[in-house]
């Protein structure tokens, strides 16, 4: 057991504390080439016949990860010191590198040089950490060369001039990335390269296209030490920068230190920061704070970027909050109270890849086809990015992905490099792909390892399944499902029987996904990563492979399926008397659509058993719903739209608001009840490691926009509790049928989103679900399309003693990180769904300019936002054209939420109905948008 290895003590003076860690050096770390006679080759990853093995330097990984991800680069040795340095510098690059290393199709080998007896290097006195690590890399490269002998060439790829020079002196072959890629004779790879900044080795023969008389455009970023001390002393404020979706020149930094949002106007104040960056902000003197302009729809230095039509944001998290102006009753709007600032430094960059297209430009007649182009991101929040390409003619009509590399003070735009081509602009598949990429959704087919976890197909209930003692045979029950039409992934089914004592037995049967998805398998890992199925307008990206989603798990009619059942005994008054949970086998009698179910209930002639069950359930559900609303549950509304899609072309044929029927509400009611019951059960058994869902109570500030609107139209909303809010929303009936719904939509937008969490991380009062007005809630009823439900199924199974709790539940940190990932995926799925709807709206209206009715939902200084009920679209309408901006013809009355013409001849107020014309225009190439104009 005892390994007698010499060991070196590594001291690391963190703060002032001296820490000592043991560091064992080993003789059993192998080189990873399969042909090596000395080393154990069982873990070898490099190819057998490699003529060249690359050893990459940290700077190459950090800057050229896009190149490394290209399959043309192989036989790479990744040193553990490089991994460590990358991890410290950039976690996302580290994860990408790790992914390449673990991909069995790539030939990347991790060599733990830091633990190898012969390649560990001790820090020399006077040597900086960087120099020491560079030396470690060279020593490892040298070791490889010596170890492998002359048969293989070991090439150190580094862009560090000093490291390259020293390597050459020590007799190691070293090249820069550029010269190495050039030697491969693959011009397309050259585009992937990040252009080196001045300290690095120069790219020998690339001429600088940028003008030589460069002037400084942005002010300098302060050094980190100054920022830290500034933050400490309260003159700088730290926060995450969020750029306004509607106006890229306006951004917000939520600062804890001043307890408010700081507004940043204009590119020069934003000082090269990107959306999502953690920045340090300095407040501007109060006389430079801008009030009125903050409420305008577009910024004043808008050169060529343009506003877009977006669908309504669905919650307060999406849209930047606008706090009201205090006491601005008069006509003058000078002296606003909103703090404005400028960015003095960037604490953490949030750079990643962006989707978009190149700004059209004439083909340059230059030599060798190297051209500079400007990339325009699809997402308006990001500035244009300058890239260098050798394949310009191929890219001009394509959607491409581009990464940002740097942004220096002299450049108006950041520099970046081409990553890959997605497809042709305007092509629906390409644009859908863009939606997926922008929302970080994995739509790749499932890997072979994942598919290997599926049960043998075709699958059917076997006698073994039936013989398991805890699995109850419920095939005799009349179970049926109610779902949207055409639904293939049927998660849930119901049954309802009258009992002799006058009570009802109601069962909710949920697909028993955990019978097929076992913890720790590749299938489970994949599902956990995906987190949720994603529903786009024309396609669905499954969380689980199709055979499970549509067949094995789906509770289809007339086939026997495994289920996890929650069965209640309820009084006719819908009081739950008892609850039991069991795994079961069911056979669904009917798979109904909402419309069918509704039709059956409404048709008084029908008296068949299923219809009777439906009616019984509906009456119970109505009582449950009433009780829930009495408790203070909110009936919120969102602008969900539905497309009719042409089955051939997949083009949208019609568009309209999604209609909600009683049958929908009935099913929803029982699902809510099942989720609540399960939440209680799992929390009782596992108070520290249950996965629950909470919805935080909105703060006063969040409700502010709603209150302002309601005050302006003379509506009195009580927001003191969810019950009070629900009641006053019920009372808010205006002159027209749509009024109430509109108010509800506005209210919904003020709420934050519900989130998953691990029960051990919060205290019980925080478990509360505001929207549903229940102290406990979780997700149990859709395990086919949500991973949270899979986790909850495992918890429930363990709590009733039929299986063991998997080991992740021992690890609260891991559980928390799963919950965080689920929230992230959930949000992205929603955003992607919305973006997809937006995309199809555009396609739909491209051929159909339309006149319709719209409602004003937000007043701005030069126009207003309208909401189009019929199509669920929200967008800006301008009263002043851009040329006459600031002419002061219109002014805003904050109090009454009105925009008035100076001469008083015309005014528009909030919630007012207006007639508008909608048409797709393309003011800028490749950025079509839906334009709304008043008629």
């Amino acid at each position: 057991m005892l390994h007698n290895k010499s060991f070196v003590k590594k001291t690391k003076g963190g703060k002032v504390m001296k820490q000592v860690r043991e560091h064992y050096l080993r003789d059993d770390i192998y080189c990873g080439t399969p042909s090596c006679t000395v080393c154990d080759s069982s873990g070898a990853r490099l190819s057998d016949s490699a003529s060249t093995i690359l050893v990459v330097d940290t700077n190459v990984v950090l800057n050229q990860i896009d190149l490394l991800e290209n399959s043309a680069i192989d036989d790479v040795v990744v040193l553990s010191i490089v991994l460590e340095e990358v991890k410290n510098k950039n976690m996302s690059v580290y994860n990408r590198l790790r992914a390449i290393c673990s991909n069995s199709n790539r030939k990347f080998f991790v060599f733990s040089n830091e633990y190898h007896r012969d390649t560990y290097v001790k820090e020399m006195s006077g040597e900086t950490k960087n120099d020491r690590n560079d030396r470690a890399i060279r020593v490892a490269a040298q070791w490889y060369q010596k170890h492998l002998g002359g048969a293989v060439k070991v090439l150190l790829v580094t862009n560090d001039k000093e490291n390259k020079r020293k390597a050459s002196e020590e007799g190691i072959c070293a090249e820069t990335v550029e010269s190495y890629v050039k030697s491969l004779d693959r011009p397309d790879l050259l585009d992937l390269l990040v252009r080196p900044s001045s300290e690095d080795a120069e790219m020998e023969d690339v001429e600088d296209h940028r003008p030589s008389k460069r002037k400084v455009i942005y002010s300098e970023h302060k050094p980190m030490s100054e920022i830290t001390s500034g933050l400490h002393r309260g003159i700088y404020h730290q926060g995450k920068l969020r750029v306004n979706r509607y106006n890229p020149f306006e951004a917000y930094v939520g600062s804890e230190s001043i307890g408010d949002e700081i507004i940043i106007y204009g590119r020069s104040n934003m000082n090269r920061a990107f959306d999502g960056d953690i920045v340090a902000v300095e407040l501007l003197p109060e006389d430079q704070w801008q009030g009125e302009k903050s409420l305008s729809i577009v910024g004043e230095e808008d050169e060529d970027e343009d506003e877009d039509v977006h669908l309504a944001p669905n919650s307060a998290d999406d849209a930047p909050r606008t706090t009201p102006q205090q006491g601005s009753t008069g006509v003058t709007n000078a002296g606003s109270s909103r703090p404005s600032g400028r960015i003095v430094g960037i604490i953490k960059r949030n750079w990643h890849s962006y989707c978009g297209s190149l700004e059209p430009m004439p083909m340059p007649g230059g030599s060798r086809g190297v051209a500079y182009a400007l990339f325009v991101s699809k997402d308006r929040r990001f500035p244009k990015i300058r890239i260098q390409t050798r394949q310009l003619e191929n890219l001009l009509d394509k959607r491409i992905m581009v990464s940002v590399d740097s942004w220096d003070r002299q450049s108006r735009y950041p520099s970046g490099h081409y990553v890959r081509t997605i497809g042709e602009i305007g092509d629906r598949d390409t644009e859908s792909e863009v939606v997926l990429i922008e929302n970080d959704i994995n739509s790749r087919p499932f890997s072979a390892q994942v598919l290997a976890c599926l049960p043998p197909l075709p699958w059917s209930v076997s006698s073994e399944d039936l013989s398991i003692p805890f699995r109850q045979d419920l095939r005799h029950l009349r179970v049926f499902s109610v779902d949207p039409p055409g639904c293939k992934d049927i998660d849930d089914a119901l049954h309802c029987y009258a009992l002799p004592n006058g009570n009802f037995e109601v069962g909710v049967h949920i697909a028993d996904v955990t019978n097929f998805v076992f913890p720790g398998t590749p299938l489970d890992d994949e599902a956990s990563q995906r987190g949720t199925s994603v529903y786009l307008v024309e396609r669905r990206i499954d969380m689980l492979p199709k055979p499970l989603t549509e067949d094995v798990c789906s509770l289809r009619s007339d086939v026997e399926r495994l289920a996890f059942s929650v069965i209640w005994e309820m009084t006719p008054e819908a009081d739950i008397i008892s609850t039991r949970y069991t795994k079961s086998v069911i056979k669904s009698a009917a798979a109904l659509s909402y419309v069918e179910a509704q039709a059956r209930m409404d048709d008084s002639r029908l008296m068949d058993p299923v219809t009777t069950d439906l009616r019984n359930m509906n009456s119970l559900a109505k009582k449950m719903r009433l009780r829930r609303i009495e408790r203070g549950a909110l009936t919120l509304a969102s602008a969900e739209v539905k497309f009719q899609i042409d089955t051939e072309t997949h083009d949208p044929l019609d568009i309209g608001m999604y209609q909600i029927r009683e049958a929908n509400q009935m099913v929803e009611e029982f699902m809510l009840a099942a989720n609540v019951s399960v939440a209680q059960q799992i929390l009782k058994s596992f108070p520290l490691c249950s996965l629950l869902r909470r919805h935080p109570t909105p703060t006063k500030e969040m409700l502010e926009p709603l209150l302002r609107v309601s005050a302006a139209i003379g509506l009195n909303l009580d927001v003191s509790s969810s019950k009070a809010l629900a009641d006053s929303l019920d009372l808010a009936v205006g002159g027209d049928p749509y009024f109430n719904k509109l108010i509800r939509i506005l209210a919904t937008r003020c709420m934050s989103q519900a989130v998953y969490f691990c029960s051990g991380d919060l205290s019980p009062p925080e478990y509360h679900h505001y929207g549903l007005a229940t102290p406990l809630y979780t997700h149990f009823t859709s395990p086919i399309r949500r991973y949270a439900d899979v986790i909850v199924h495992r918890l429930l199974a363990a709590s009733i003693g039929i299986s063991k709790l998997p080991s992740v539940f021992q690890d609260r940190l891991q559980l928390t990180s799963i919950a965080d990932n689920l929230n992230y995926r959930h949000r992205n799925a929603q955003m992607a769904g919305r973006a997809s709807v937006e995309l199809h709206t555009l396609i739909y209206f491209r051929k159909r300019p339309t006149d319709t009715e719209a409602r004003i939902v937000k007043i701005r200084s030069n126009g207003f936002f309208v909401f189009v009920p019929k199509y669920g679209i929200e967008g800006p309408v301008y009263l002043t054209t851009r040329a006459e901006k600031g002419s002061g013809e219109w002014y805003v009355d904050e109090q009454e939420q009105k925009i008035k013409k100076m001469d008083g001849s015309l005014s528009y107020s909030i919630l007012q109905t207006v007639q508008i014309h909608m048409e797709v225009v393309e003011p800028q190439p490749n950025r079509p948008k839906l334009q709304l104009t008043l008629i």
């Binding site: 060991f7 504390m17 860690r21 043991e22 064992y24 021992q810």
Partner: protein
């Protein structure tokens, strides 16, 4: 946090089933009747044994067996962050008790009625696994003092991080908050005399982790036997000369 890399190495370069370097030395405190230093990596403890001798406090005297007492203390400089470590805090009292109970069980106390044996353990450096190191040092010190024992007692810990059982956790791994099992065994009799665990662990994993710790104890026992044998040979040589 990644405690075991995908390459199967722990933060300090060990593999999951490897123990830190151990080192022992007999006779560190020449005035004591028996003493030893025991190191497990950067954890270093000194144990000194005084006795068997007259019972100091008559009221504690036992007529049928020896009185075994133990005191555990940590030096101010033993941990990374300097702290005054008052004697007799809860943790010290608990560890003293654990060591005393473990050692008392293997000392043939009935052979030495009306006498007293004192075991003092001083932690010079703490880097995880101090409990185990103390017990191992105490065993050696008792053997050095020539106190009759049923068997050696050896101890080792094991934990479970990143879904991997890990032998002999160091301070960083110990602070990860995962389960940590300390096992003490009588190697020849193959009996477990000490078993402590914090945090939750499923039963089947517990079995694996405990098995691992037991293997560690056995390895330490072999090492301790070697050290004792060497020491005895040296004594023999000195007497002969």
């Amino acid at each position: 946090m990644e405690y075991v890399s995908p390459e199967g190495l722990r933060l300090d370069g060990r593999r999951p089933m490897e123990m830190r370097q151990i080192r022992a030395e007999i006779g560190a405190v020449s005035k004591a009747d028996g003493s030893a230093v025991f190191e497990m990596g950067n954890t270093k403890v000194i144990a000194a044994v005084y006795g068997p001798r007259e019972v100091q406090n008559r009221s504690q005297q036992l007529s049928d067996q020896a009185l075994v007492r133990c005191e555990y203390s940590m030096a101010n400089f033993s941990t990374g962050d300097r702290m005054r470590k008052p004697k007799g805090d809860r943790r010290s009292i608990e560890i003293s008790l654990v060591i005393r109970q473990t050692m008392e069980e293997c000392i043939l106390t009935h052979l030495m009625p009306r006498s007293q044996i004192d075991i003092y353990v001083q932690v010079l450096q703490a880097d995880g696994g101090t409990r185990s190191a103390c017990i191992n040092a105490a065993t050696l010190a008792l053997a050095d003092a020539g106190i009759p024992m049923r068997d050696l007692v050896t101890s080792c810990s094991a934990g479970y991080l990143n879904s991997t059982p890990l032998l002999d956790l160091n301070y960083v791994e110990d602070s990860a908050g995962g389960p940590d099992i300390t096992v003490g065994i009588l190697p020849k009799l193959d009996k477990v005399t000490l078993l402590q665990m914090d945090s939750k662990l499923p039963i089947d994993i517990l079995e694996n982790v405990m098995q691992l710790a037991t293997e560690g104890c056995k390895a330490i026992a072999n090492y301790i036997r070697e050290i004792l044998l060497e020491n005895t040979k040296e004594l023999e040589y000195r007497r002969g000369s």
